[in-house]
């Protein structure tokens, strides 16, 4: 009797998503980024089944942040008032695959800036760099619904990744992303059932499942990473099992989550090691952990953490 084949193989796969539009397809990007395509779990199966390499999107804020710790802010002091220069620095000096413009400054509790400002920032960044963009709202539904449609329109034809849409606020941005030719981020609060529901709702509006990237919310190392990890893992396994409503590539917000934990930034903590090392290590460890669960795009902030994670990616995804 022959020995049965026990190699694990899956029927489904993570869908492939290409971000950015070059001149040939009506945009102004000088390069595109393709993610997804995995037909196995990370480390599982053959090289061919690993799909595309994960990529790093570096955060550029639309307005100067006032809460960044010095170990992080020192790398950006010269560009924090110019999103265009900031983006350029991320791409040219730190090797960002994409730039994620985070519109913190439009939030009513922060700088409460208007749509004209957000449009100007979008145009500046589009002009400054050639990589594909991610355009990420402030998290205040009411304000985002006023501003993000204008942002979407300003990037029309560039095939950006725009978001985020949630279970109770998805219609306006979904319709615009569809009209302006963008990819869309669906957002759920660490809840796989809601994650699936948002995808169904968005798909019901005629938005193609192949143009969605999911955001399950992120927890940093020590602050709920296990929830994020197990959800990402479950999403990947559902995709491999053939669940088309869960077969999208995933994005994580590692930069913001890592830099708000006290272990990453507390200066007066002699037993914890030098703060200059601790922060980037915290961010890199969080990112690498989530990469192993099956994440495709990682939002990051510290250049040393980015370098460490890029090195890891290049070794694992040959």
């Amino acid at each position: 009797m022959p020995v049965p084949e026990v190699k694990e193989s899956f029927a489904g796969q993570v869908s492939r998503v290409t971000l950015g539009s070059t001149k040939d397809s009506g945009g102004t990007r000088t390069s595109t980024v393709t993610v997804g395509g995995a037909r196995n779990v990370v480390y599982g199966g053959s090289i061919e089944q690993a799909g595309e390499k994960p990529v790093i999107a570096m955060d550029v804020l639309d307005s100067r942040p006032d809460d960044w710790p010095e170990t992080l802010a020192e790398h950006y002091q010269d560009v924090m008032d110019s999103p265009g220069d900031w983006a350029k620095k991320c791409v040219e000096e730190f090797g960002a695959d994409l730039v994620c413009v985070k519109f913190d400054g439009i939030h009513p509790d922060k700088a409460d800036k208007d749509a004209a400002h957000a449009v100007k920032v979008t145009e500046e960044v589009l002009k400054a760099v050639g990589v594909p963009l991610i355009l990420w709202d402030s998290g205040n539904d009411e304000k985002d619904n006023q501003v993000m449609p204008k942002v979407s329109e300003a990037a029309k034809g560039e095939n950006v990744l725009i978001g985020t849409v949630k279970e109770d606020n998805y219609k306006a941005l979904t319709a615009l992303a569809l009209a302006d030719g963008h990819h869309l981020i669906t957002h759920a609060p660490l809840d796989i059932n809601i994650a699936k529901q948002v995808n169904i709702l968005v798909s019901d509006m005629g938005f193609p499942l192949e143009k969605i990237v999911t955001f399950q919310a992120t927890g940093a190392l020590g602050y709920g990473i296990e929830y994020a990890y197990s959800i990402q893992e479950r999403q990947r396994l559902a995709a491999l099992g053939g669940d088309k409503m869960m077969a999208m590539p995933a994005i994580c917000d590692v930069g913001y989550e890592s830099w708000r934990v006290k272990e990453a930034k507390l200066e007066d903590a002699p037993g914890w090691g030098a703060v200059e090392d601790r922060g980037p290590m915290w961010e890199a460890t969080t990112a690498i952990c989530l990469l192993q669960a099956g994440v495709d795009i990682i939002r990051m902030r510290h250049p040393r953490a980015v370098a460490t994670v890029k090195n890891f990616i290049n070794q694992i995804w040959q």
Partner: protein
Amino acid sequence: MILIGERINGMFTDVKDAIASKNKQPIQELAKKQTEAGATYLDVNVGTAAADQEGTMQWLVETIQETCSTPLSLDSQKPSVITAGLKVVNAEAGVILNSTPLNKKNDGEILDKHIEMAEQAGPKACIIALTMDKNGVPQDINARVAIAAEIVQKAMDKSFDTRRLFIDPIVLPVKVPNAQVQVGNILTAMEQIKYLADPAPHMTIGLSNVSQGTSKRSLINRIFLAMAISSGLDSAIVDVLDEDLVNVVATAEMLMNKQIYSDSFLKAYTTANKA
């Protein structure tokens, strides 16, 4: 769940009439409707009325394939009819040879022949093997499992991937005298059969059989389907046009944690199956 749509069968009057008058339209309509309802495969059975069963099988296959690309399940007890269908079927996306017993009194090698026919048809061709042999349909659990074990053994001896093998434990009508015990036997047998190989063979049933002649056919079909899914059933020949029945599949798979729950889980199931 692999759903095999049962409607293109010469036992149904509309199909029988279409075959008699060589009217393609009703056949193509049934293929389209079943595909839209989520059928993974379309069963094709010429029934008993047509004189030329081989020719009718070919006509049905060609007629369906003119307008529909859903893979087919060629359903006949006669190998010659399945062979005729295989000559014209597009097996690239898959095809099921439906079905063969382990062996017959007058043909000890019938399973071997089906495996060979599937191998020749292409890498995605599957077979349905019934847990019956030259002595007929077994009446108890152990005999069913023993026949299934022989089927699995034969497939493995021939290096036929067990994922291409569907085992049908044969559902008998619950109303047949003294057959009521069989329904429970089948469930127990299925639970054991799936451990015969890794990866496990698929388990399939002709669902509507269970309710033959009863007064509450669709209720019995739905409840039995849910019970069978919890015993490891992952395929069935069913009326996919029965929306409530497909909802039972979606719900059972969700409760078994095979599909992630969402508030629109019924819609998610049908949309994903259509895509």
